[in-house]
């Protein structure tokens, strides 16, 4: 039994004929045997005894080869092995070859394709245009190995079919009456199956179907068809057929253009909105407010398109359009909503972003312009625990802004005199809303800083920036607020990093101090609509002090809020670094606080910066040679004597166990506004254990510790060997008895190498 793609000469490289090799001559056949019989009457040459034949780059081995001089036909019998130049090896008891040693018909024929897959057939014919037709065939990509008694073991999976045709034109392999066997047990029958020919790349053809079962949609069969239109574009058309619903058609297309590529995803069907048990939500009696009931069956669809182009090394442009008929459509049909948008506005869950942008970037400048609109997908159908009736909350899209446009630009120039760096920056943002205030702001400013390294290594970085803002806000109540202001800051950033190179351990100590003086009238009182009594801060929310924010001169988040007065931020970091079994390891501690004086409007209560002195900040970072990494920081509120923030990440990565964890706890003082339903304490993460062989067990979850609810969890058991990946998975979501999103699913995902993946989504 030759190893896959091993050629006669025992090498695994396909045979390459030397330029002057005599075998290039198409009329030349060379045989070696124990005996040759030249029967002149029948004009047949017969070679007998471990015959080894060679024709151009094909090698033939057999016990006997009859070569008819008149018809040129070659019949090889007995342990026949034919090795193609590509390394495909074919075994047969009887193989009829044309004179070019091209396999004609063969009896109980097995072929080991270069990709390692093995096909065996009772009988093979080869039509003159070179297409194989195999009868009574088995096909597997698994390594066939003999067990102790020398009997070949059942491969993990094998496809058995009555007839198989290799269609060169559409580059697919078609099966009639195919049975899929798993460990020798027939588990799936289909009268007709086709998959792209593994020896062809990018072949069009039916991808492997997906079969799944879910409460809402019942039994479903999903059959994707991949069509490689040309070298630049491809479309996957996927009909979803459901036992309890109308079928759905899904399309994904991708086109490569010379400066970038265009992605499209869409689907449509016709149905009434249904809940997680598949019951339509059009019965008014089930609702607390009857006219919330859904109307009869209507068109449901989604349409996403994203283009990202880079015509030159400086300029990029792109657009994203996302639309769906109703908020819960993708959840109901379990369609994958993760759509990568490459633009300036990142798409988030529960929100569709439609934007167009252009950006130019060089070594010392960046300019960008974007226009964007949004569709929020937060409407929910919730079963009330007391009445059992459905309450519907729908989001009001009219509140969402349309950003048309937001233009930003900055340009760095090195000041020849002192060698410092000056930054010219500008930002113009205009937002309009149907309900809510329209906001317009134009900003221009200058920022200058210079870093000096003084004699003993003290790093001194004085800085100063000034900015002019012009606001024009129209509120719903008709008031028109227009004003402008000039604000700025000046200060100095002092850092004095020390390093002590030890034999095993290097120590770094880095004390740092940042003194900032703010000036100019922030006119925060103008961000107030006297008629409605609302504040109109648009750009930026209340800040959230973390180690990265401590040393930011302007700690307000965004353009609108600005705090006057003086501020001194001090902190120090001590880090030890050493080699742990040849891998970089580090542990570092940081502590700091921000002191302020003469501050007018203080930041919000939950920001950690309210009052004159901020809360204490401490951080611990640990990296043990990449095996174990953990970053934790805490904020301590002196007045309430409580840790107002704990934030920690953990990742462990060893041979058998992979673990990632993320924990945070927010202990906000009374009066801070938080998002409805947001957890105050949450732990999330996952663990994957690979005990032995190809087996792996995994669990991931997100748990709201405040309300003791596990929002989402996935458990999976997987088995992987050289030709298969079998994964059993279970998923469950719990969003406070949300009628549509609270569903659980169980499925099998089976990926057969060279056949594509196959299994419940």
């Amino acid at each position: 039994q030759l190893a896959p793609n091993q050629t006669a000469a025992g090498t695994s490289r396909p045979l390459k004929l030397a330029k002057d090799s005599p075998f290039r001559d198409p009329d030349l056949i060379y045989l070696e045997a124990d005996e040759l019989i030249n029967d002149e009457n029948a004009s047949v040459l017969t070679a007998i005894g471990e015959v080894e034949g060679r024709y151009q780059d094909r090698t033939l081995r057999a016990n006997r080869v009859d070569y008819n001089l008149e018809t040129g036909q070659v019949l090889a019998t007995g342990d026949v092995v034919l090795i193609d130049a590509t390394g495909d090896v074919q075994y047969a008891d009887k193989l009829e070859l044309s004179d070019q040693l091209q396999a004609g018909t063969a009896a109980n024929f097995t072929a080991r394709l270069a990709s390692g897959a093995t096909t065996a057939a009772r009988f093979v014919t080869r039509s003159d245009d070179g297409e194989f037709e195999l009868f009574n065939v088995t096909y597997t990509a698994c390594e066939l190995c003999k067990n102790s008694e020398g009997k070949t073991k059942n491969p993990t999976w094998r496809l058995r079919a009555r007839r198989v045709k290799q269609d060169d034109e559409s580059r697919t392999i078609r099966y009639r009456d195919a049975v899929l066997e798993l460990f020798g047990l027939p588990i799936f029958y289909t009268p007709y199956l086709a998959h792209p020919d593994p020896s062809q790349d990018r072949a069009s053809g039916l991808l492997v179907p997906t079969i799944g079962m879910s409460g809402a949609r019942g039994f479903n069969y999903v059959q994707p068809y991949y069509w490689a239109i040309d070298d630049y574009s491809e479309i996957t058309v996927t009909p979803h057929i459901y036992s309890s619903l109308n079928p759905l058609l899904e399309l994904q297309a991708r086109r490569k253009l010379n400066t970038g590529d265009l992605n499209f995803a869409g689907s449509f069907t016709r149905a009434t909105v249904f809940d997680r048990n598949g019951d339509p939500l059009d019965d008014p009696t089930r609702f607390t407010d009857p006219n919330n009931a859904e109307k009869g069956p209507e068109l449901s669809s989604h349409f996403f398109v994203d283009g990202y182009f880079k015509p030159s090394s400086t300029w990029t442009y792109g657009y994203t359009a996302m639309f769906q008929t109703d908020d819960t459509y993708l959840d109901r049909y379990g369609l994958d909503s993760a759509f990568e948008s490459n633009g300036l506005f990142e798409n988030t869950r529960r929100q569709n972003t439609t934007q167009a942008f252009i950006a130019g970037q060089g070594k010392n400048f960046r300019v960008s312009a974007v226009a964007a609109g949004f569709q929020s997908l937060n409407s929910r159908f919730v079963e009330s625990e007391t009445t059992g009736l459905i309450n519907v909350t729908r989001d009001d899209n009219s509140v969402l802004p349309i950003i048309a446009p937001k233009i930003q630009g900055e340009y760095y120039v090195t000041d020849p005199a002192l060698g410092g760096r000056a930054r010219l920056f500008g930002d113009a943002s205009y937002l309009t809303r149907e309900t809510g205030s329209d906001y317009g702001r134009a900003t221009a400013g200058l920022d200058y800083s210079k870093t000096w390294i003084t004699g003993p290594g003290l790093e001194v970085k004085p800085f100063a920036w000034g900015r002019f803002d012009n606001y024009d806000i129209q509120t719903d109540s008709g008031t028109d607020i227009g004003f402008s202001r000039t604000i700025g800051q000046a200060g100095v950033d002092l850092r004095y990093p020390f390093i002590r190179r030890g034999g095993a351990v290097d120590l770094v100590i880095e004390p740092r101090a940042l003194y900032t003086e703010s000036f100019g009238d922030s006119k925060l009182d103008r961000f107030f609509d006297p008629v409605s009594g609302d504040f109109l801060f648009e750009d930026g929310a209340t800040p959230d002090l973390d180690p990265a924010l401590l040393f930011e001169p302007n700690k307000s988040d965004g353009f609108d809020f600005f705090q006057e007065g003086r501020r001194l931020d001090v902190g120090a970091r001590v880090a030890a670094m050493w080699d742990l079994r040849g891998r970089e390891s580090e542990v570092s501690i940081f502590a700091g606080r921000s002191y302020s004086d003469g501050v007018t409007d203080s930041f919000g209560p939950g920001s950690g910066l309210s009052g004159s002195n901020s809360e204490y900040i401490a951080a611990l970072n640990l990296d043990l040679g990449g095996f174990l990494k953990s970053n934790t920081w805490v904020r301590y509120d002196e007045d309430r004597d409580v840790l107002s923030r704990i934030d920690s990440t953990l990742s462990a990565n060893t041979k058998y166990v992979k673990l990632t964890g993320r924990y945070y706890k927010v202990n906000a003082p009374t009066g801070t506004t938080t998002i409805a339903g947001a957890p105050r304490e949450e732990i999330s993460g996952g663990i994957t254990v690979r005990p032995f062989g190809g087996w792996s067990v995994g669990y991931r979850a997100v748990r709201d510790l405040g309300k003791d609810v596990t929002r989402s969890q996935q458990a999976s058991i997987g088995y992987r060997d050289d030709c298969t990946l079998v994964e059993l998975f279970y998923e469950k979501r719990d969003f406070d008895n949300d009628l549509i999103r609270n569903d659980s699913e169980f499925g099998i995902r089976l990926t057969l190498s060279t056949l594509g993946s196959f299994g419940g989504n």
Binding site: T316, E346, R350, Q351, T353, R421, F498, I499, Y664, D736
Partner: protein, 151 residues
């Protein structure tokens, strides 16, 4: 060896920083590209490159946003802005790799229901994370350079 000495005072780090060119790749989408730009600007005032620098620092940036605080309405109420960079330091004359590494930094912020405020807070977080990453990266490069035989 001697006790603590100022890191900037170390002869090798100082000379290297004033003899190093920085190239930042674009990453796979606009977010990565913008993060790369911000990292470069923070490095610019610490690294200066003469005509023919001895060292070349290549940085491959990525910017990710990881949702946290999953609410009962199935959307994130907090985010981690993760900016990371794979860096490779080479000698110009023969392109030999002197050192390489991966640095990352995270800025956390609370989400806002309004998409404009959310994106402007995210952009601020990217700027903070890029600033912190640049500092970390410089410390790591300085440490690697300090181990090299002085030029």
């Amino acid at each position: 060896c001697a006790g603590f000495q100022p890191m900037h005072g170390t002869q090798s780090a100082q000379t290297a920083f004033s003899d190093m060119s920085v190239t930042v790749s674009d990453g796979k989408d606009e977010g990565d590209r913008e993060a790369g730009y911000l990292i470069r600007q923070r490095l610019a005032d610490r690294i200066s490159a003469p005509e023919k620098p001895t060292y070349q620092l290549l940085i491959e940036p990525t910017a990710q946003r990881i949702g946290l605080g999953l609410t009962s309405g199935d959307f994130a109420s907090r985010y981690d802005r993760l900016v990371s960079a794979k860096w490779t330091l080479r000698k110009s004359e023969d392109g030999a790799i002197v050192a390489r590494g991966q640095t990352q930094s995270t800025a956390t912020y609370s989400a806002d229901r309004d998409p404009y405020r959310l994106q402007s807070t995210s952009n601020e977080a990217t700027d903070r994370a890029a600033r912190e990453l640049a500092d970390k990266l410089l410390t790591e490069v300085a440490l690697e350079l300090a181990e090299l035989p002085t030029l």
